[in-house]
Each structure stands twice: as structure tokens, then as C-alpha cells.
Point group: C2
Amino acid sequence: VERRDAQANRAKILAVADDVFGRGGETASTEEVAKRAGVGIATVFRHFPTKAALLEAVLVARLSRLREVVEARHDDTDPGAAFYGCFRHIVADAASKIAIGNALMDETDEENPAVLEAARELRRSFGVLLDRAQRADAVRDDIELPECYAVLIGASRAPVDGEVRERSLAIIFDGLRPH
Amino acid sequence: VERRDAQANRAKILAVADDVFGRGGETASTEEVAKRAGVGIATVFRHFPTKAALLEAVLVARLSRLREVVEARHDDTDPGAAFYGCFRHIVADAASKIAIGNALMDETDEENPAVLEAARELRRSFGVLLDRAQRADAVRDDIELPECYAVLIGASRAPVDGEVRERSLAIIFDGLRPH
């Protein structure tokens, strides 16, 4: 039971931390996470010894969830819809991911191997969608993953949402489609 | 003479600070700026009372220089070349601008009116290029400045350079051109 409680606490802390640090701003602190998760600060630090460790776990979990979304569409019968749908999904997810990434950079100047590996796996997985979309003639076949992913990351970092984001994606998608 | 010396010092400090903070990283400090400008730290603080004030001046100067580049092409005889050329120039200039912007965000959580105004002026100025390029049929006429500028900012924040940046701009430019 104790072990199950610990696991439940860990999951709860991660979910709350994703929300708190994703939103960013002044109140984003480990104390705030503990308070909103209904546990003591000591419990947070038992699971995540440093704020950087907590942020790393949050970011890795986010990147893993995105990869799962992408992988779920690897065998989609409409490869074009899978590619453009996941492109849009990643961009929409990114606003809060950036806040978390910035928070992590504040905490540590070291490269973060776990985050880098999770980011690399997401990229590889997205590359499968690109490949299938190109074979289905939904994306120009002279485009390669590095530049496609650079445009995706850029779109993820543009400080817009709603209709303007949709209209900026329309420009990018038009550039990706064959003419 | 004293006043002229003071002005020369200020200009020198600004130029060095642009380089030091533009590069980012561990050694980016006011001390490093003073050392490389060949002045005492007290001289730096006489001109710029806080690190935030120095970073603000650097960022405003950068945005103003970009606006001058854009304005110099307002009457270009080839509005398409002016638009796409300035788009590329702003993106290429941005890598170090981001380091400075991040450094500024570390220093202060307040909105920064001088930086915001300089950024707004750059955007307005770029809007003139967009308008002329659309009249010359070099950019699709159903595109408006907000989404065009969102794509520009995104491209400026994509962590790539060299050939991959060029190939990612090719995707975006293809999406901006009429078909």
C-alpha cells in the first residue's frame, strides 16, 4: 500500500507540476506544486531531489505523450491528414512546453540527456509521418526532415494562437504541399 | 571633451554589450562588458544603472537597426526582392537577438515599454514591405500582417542556420508566393 501511495503521489506531483510550470510566471515554484498536489514539500523532494529534476521529468513526460500521439497515427489510412494533424497538434501543445523548457534552462546550464533523448525520439517518430505523407503525395518530395522539423519548431515558438496561428499554419502547409 | 568622451564610452559599451550578451552563455556579465570595453565597472553603471537597463538599450538598438534596414527598402523597385530579402535578413539576425531577449527576461519580469515600442515600429515597417510585395503580386493577397509576422518570428526562433535554415525559408516563401 505504501508503495502504491508513493506511486500515486509521484503521478499527482508530475501532473500538477506540468500545469504549474507550463503556465509559467511568478507563482511557478516547487512550493506551489506541493500545495496544489496536497502533499508536503518533503514529499516532493523525496521524489524529485531538485527543482531541475522535477522540471526534467515534466518535460520528458510531455515529449513522450507527444510521441505517443504521433505513433498512434503511423498507420493512418490518410497519411496527409496524419502528418498535418500532428504538425498542428505539436504546435498547439507547445505554448506551455516552452514555459517548462525555459524554466528548466533557468535551473541548469548542463545539457539534459533525458530531455534530449525524448526530443530525438519525437523527431524520429514525426519523420515516419513525413515519409508516409510524401509517398502519398501530400507533402512535396524534395523536402527533408531537418528543414521540415525546423519549420515545425519555429511555428511552435511563434507567440500566437487562435485564428492567427491557424492562418500562419495555412501559409506553412501551403509551402509543404506539392503544387 | 569630457562630454564627447562620455558619448564615445557609451557607444563603445553598447557595441561590446551587443556582442557579449548576443553570444549568451556563462561569461555574459556586466563585468565582462566593462573589461572588454576597457572601462571600469563604475563607468558602465554610470551610463546604465542596472544590467536590465543595459540589455534594454542593446535590444532597442538592435531593433532600430533592423527597422532601418527595412525602411531602406521601402521604395525598392523590386518589392518582392525587398520583402523576401528583409524576411531572410531579420531571421538571420535573430539568433543573437534571442540570447539578448532571454537575458533581458531573466533580469526583469516587467513589460518593457521601450523594447515593445521598438518591436512595434519594426513590425509596422515590415508591413509596408508586405503591402508593396502583394501589390506587385510577389506575395499572395489573402495573407495579412499578423500571420505573416507570426511566421517570421517563428522562423527567427527555429534553432537552425546555414543550409537547413535556407531550406526551411524556401518552404515558407513557397507558402507566401501566389500559385
